[in-house]
């Protein structure tokens, strides 16, 4: 084993440690301030609007035309919810705010879906 061999081993080790540090740094960075995510709103099978969900954003409301008529969606910072909809059971409104990637609000009678995009921690949720 020559001296160069030792340097090589040390170099590889160093790169390995540096990459661990880099991963750690990046993961702490991304968990510290959540990356801004977006939500996609679709009605009757078509995407009707894409919205940005960033923590600093203000409060806005807008209408989405579902199968039964217009539904009101409210966005406040990084959360979004359905505030009014012409469906009978109003399940979508009772669902309240959503903000995490993978979550969605579904209004079956209105055929309206609000889905928060991004890498979800689970593949699906049973409810």
């Amino acid at each position: 084993m020559t001296r160069a061999d030792r340097y090589l081993a040390a170099g590889i080790l160093l790169i390995a440690i540096l990459s661990v540090a880099l991963f750690y740094y990046r993961s702490s960075l991304s968990s510290g301030k959540a990356a801004s995510v977006g939500a996609v709103i679709s009605a009757q099978g078509k995407i009707v609007r894409k919205i940005d969900l960033s923590p600093g954003g203000g409060k806005t409301t807008f209408l989405v035309s579902g199968r039964l008529g217009p539904a009101t969606v409210e966005v406040e910072g990084k959360r979004v919810r359905m505030v009014d909809a012409p469906c009978p059971e109003r399940i979508c409104i009772k669902q309240g705010w959503i903000e995490n990637p993978g979550e969605s609000i579904v209004c079956v009678p209105g055929e309206t879906v609000i889905h928060v995009e991004g890498a979800a921690p689970v593949d699906a949720v049973t409810r």
Binding site: R3, I12, S19, V20
Partner: protein, 193 residues
């Protein structure tokens, strides 16, 4: 140009590499990480490399992966593709080091080969899975290359010394003869042993 000695020697190396490749697949690694293995077959590649150069090294590496996967029944499977990329990238790295540096011994070179093998596999796995999260294996695979490379390097070193004593491995004939050195002397001169 047909050199019978070279032909026979490479054939033997390919045969040995194939056997090691297959046997290695049967040895469980005490680490729960896919892709980490001892790299015994890499030793054969290294012998071919510094006996006959980059081209024959790659030939031996590719041939043993092809044959080994045919025997193992995994030809053209994702696992085969990973083995192939790993073998080729490790061979290329070892060839570069052999050609352009004379400060590394076989141990260092086989270490570099092991790391190169793991990096090549990681890259291929990324292309295959299209999932960035597998790069979390990077540090583990880097570090795993050190002990496995050391291990195969040491085996190779003692193997070369013994084989040389028996007078079988006269591979540097022309070069060594022209400079009045035995192959052992040549290897020593190049710091390989």
């Amino acid at each position: 140009m047909f050199n019978t000695r070279r032909l026979v020697f490479l054939s033997v190396l390919i045969a040995m590499g194939t056997v090691l490749h297959v046997v290695e697949g049967m040895v469980p690694v005490p680490l729960p990480i896919p892709g980490v293995k001892l790299g015994l077959a890499n030793m054969v590649t290294l012998i071919a490399l510094h006996s006959y150069g980059a081209r024959d090294g790659v030939t031996v590496a590719v041939a043993r992966v092809l044959l080994g996967s045919l025997i193992g029944g995994v030809f053209l499977s994702p696992g085969f593709l990973l083995s192939l990329t790993g073998a080729v990238s490790s061979t290329l790295i070892m060839a570069l080091l052999l050609k352009y540096s004379d400060c590394f011994s076989v141990i260092g070179i086989s270490m570099a080969g092991a790391v190169g093998h793991n990096m090549g596999q990681l890259l291929a796995a990324f292309l295959l899975l299209q999932n960035k999260s597998i790069f979390f294996y990077l540090p583990v695979l880097l570090m795993a290359g050190i002990p496995t490379g050391l291990f195969t390097g040491y085996i190779l070193k003692s193997l070369l010394e013994r084989v040389e004593r028996l007078g079988i491995l006269r591979i540097y004939e022309d070069d060594a003869a022209s400079r009045n050195l035995g192959p052992m002397g040549l290897m020593k001169e190049k710091n390989l042993l």
